[in-house]
Symmetry: C2
Subunit: 325 residues, 2 copies
């Protein structure tokens, strides 16, 4: 392969080959990249190959990039070898601050200052990840994916105190080239955005199990057959915008705003100030992009009809597990 | 139509014809039922007809029951007329306790004791709804649907202090005949199950907007392109069961249990006691129904691949709204 070809799809170095690292590698290989994988455990390559083989049929159905091949992978237990010539580095060490800080400091020292270093951390803030990096801490950012990384498109990009906007823009391009949806987070916060939402839901679910209100199966059913179907098209704001009828989010906040004071979760809600109401209503109207609630509803119904035809083939009774719920 | 036919699909009385009431009516008509609608506002019939017309094309694509017709609908502003001969009554009054209590007491007085009365309340406990009913309070239960009611299958059934198990079983059959997934909730609690989960997520989302971490659009994107895709197949427990690799939920709790102590949401988590760990791990293993994590992963990937092919046709760029996120 010529140098130009190597540069075009690029070389990705992946540090740590667990479930998340393997997912990144499968995605990068499918996008036609060369991947240089590192793991301190020499046995990691066996599990990695198994994980890639599991992912590959789905990636083939999604469509491989030109030149994409599982053979474009090398594995080493020497960090410096994996980093050599990389255009992008992705770190997937265990979720412990001291481990990540030490590994990222080594990667920072071993790579040119222009190379972006993304961390898959679920919840650590980028400024903490940058703390021990000497050479170019600003290019060490959070690039948080979702499992399975080779299929789910979201990647949250978060810069730390040393990061410049241009570095996030460049990161956005690099992850977009991997077929992802980069979401640049405006302010660093523990858990970024999506994990905070998931964690709130998860904690409330644990209370329901703990208090004997519901089993895990019942809680999952409440998500799958109800809200989960909508969430694959609209998030929570657009869902409520549509719940407000023609008046949209503003009407919905008038109607259900008082419910924020009710004990419908263990989580206390923020005060619904005029500033917050405006921010939420204007945000939802911006998302509606001039489409009326009726238009959005028609579109939602069309989507749900198609979606139900797919998901019903995957519901328990389709597997002979009927009668459970 | 003969008396036998009328009995077989049955007669449903619907009290309150807003967005939720209209949704119930469209669903019941599509299931081949006769519907007797009541609303104190004589003008409600106009909006109701518009709402049914909006719903009908999706219902046709889903498949109508034999004899299903939009003409099987009558409308009245006299409550007693709407209730006459009904096999099932669904109440959809505004979400205020005194309004619902008073209306449900009237419905209770006007219908035979054997007729089930379901309330669409989002959060009120059934014992409170039963409080003013004299004749047969036990048959007044929560039957909480999800918008759009004519497409989303979940209905949460919750009995109050006067309700007997047999009444919930009968309710379960009646809602199943409407093509729904009845979920009998074991203990009454404000917000039932699904709304508590949604409310936890909603409150956390409001904090993120309030604190300037993200816009409504960014938060919705974090759901749609990430967790939302998984939630239409698996709820939060099975998602985490798969995140645990071959060790499943038990391994996941070991790894991410400590994160429950971290400020990843404003909501404080319950203590992860051995009892709770066992309940969650055993529940997830029960849901897995003997399928290995690898099998579940392969199934999830197959599902996501099909799902992505559908949802990508509905993502913003498919509507010429690209570049927003």
């Amino acid at each position: 392969m010529s140098a130009i070809h190597t540069q075009a799809p690029g070389v990705m170095a992946v540090a740590g080959c667990g479930v998340i690292g393997s997912g990144w590698i499968a995605r990068a290989l499918a996008a036609g990249m060369q991947v240089q994988a590192w793991d301190p455990d020499p046995d990691a390559i066996r599990r990695l190959r198994v994980n890639i083989d599991t992912a590959w049929p789905s990636l083939e159905r999604r469509g491989l990039a030109e030149g994409a091949s599982r053979d474009n992978l090398s594995f080493t237990t020497e960090l410096a070898d994996a980093l050599d010539g990389a255009d992008l580095v992705q770190e997937n060490a265990p979720e412990r601050l001291e481990i990540k800080q030490s590994l990222l400091a080594q990667i920072d020292a071993l790579t040119p200052a222009s190379v972006l270093i993304g961390s898959s951390t679920s919840g650590i803030k980028p400024s903490e990840l940058q703390a021990q990096c000497q050479k170019a801490p600003g290019r060490v950012i959070v690039a948080h994916p979702f499992n399975p990384v080779y299929l789910l498109p979201l990647v949250e990009l978060v810069g730390g105190e040393h990061t410049e906007a241009a570095q996030l823009e460049k990161a956005s391009e690099q992850y977009r080239a991997l077929g992802m949806r980069p979401l640049i987070v405006q302010r660093e916060i523990e858990g970024h955005i999506a994990d905070r939402l998931m964690e709130a839901l998860w904690r409330e679910a644990l209370y329901l199990v703990n208090d004997g209100v519901a089993t895990t199966e019942e809680i999952d059913a409440a998500v799958v057959y109800g809200a989960g179907l909508r969430w694959s098209l609209m998030g929570t704001f657009m869902t409520f915008h549509l719940a407000g009828g023609e008046g949209g989010m503003r009407h919905m906040l008038e109607q259900f705003g008082p419910a924020l004071k009710l004990p419908w979760t263990r989580l206390e809600a923020p005060e619904l100030t005029d500033t917050l109401i405006n921010r939420v209503a204007e945000g939802s109207e911006y998302q509606a992009a001039g489409r009326s609630v009726a238009e959005l509803e028609a579109r939602r119904d069309q989507f749900l009809t198609e979606l139900l035809a797919v998901v019903e083939r995957y519901w328990p009774e389709a597997e002979g597990l009927g009668g459970r719920i």
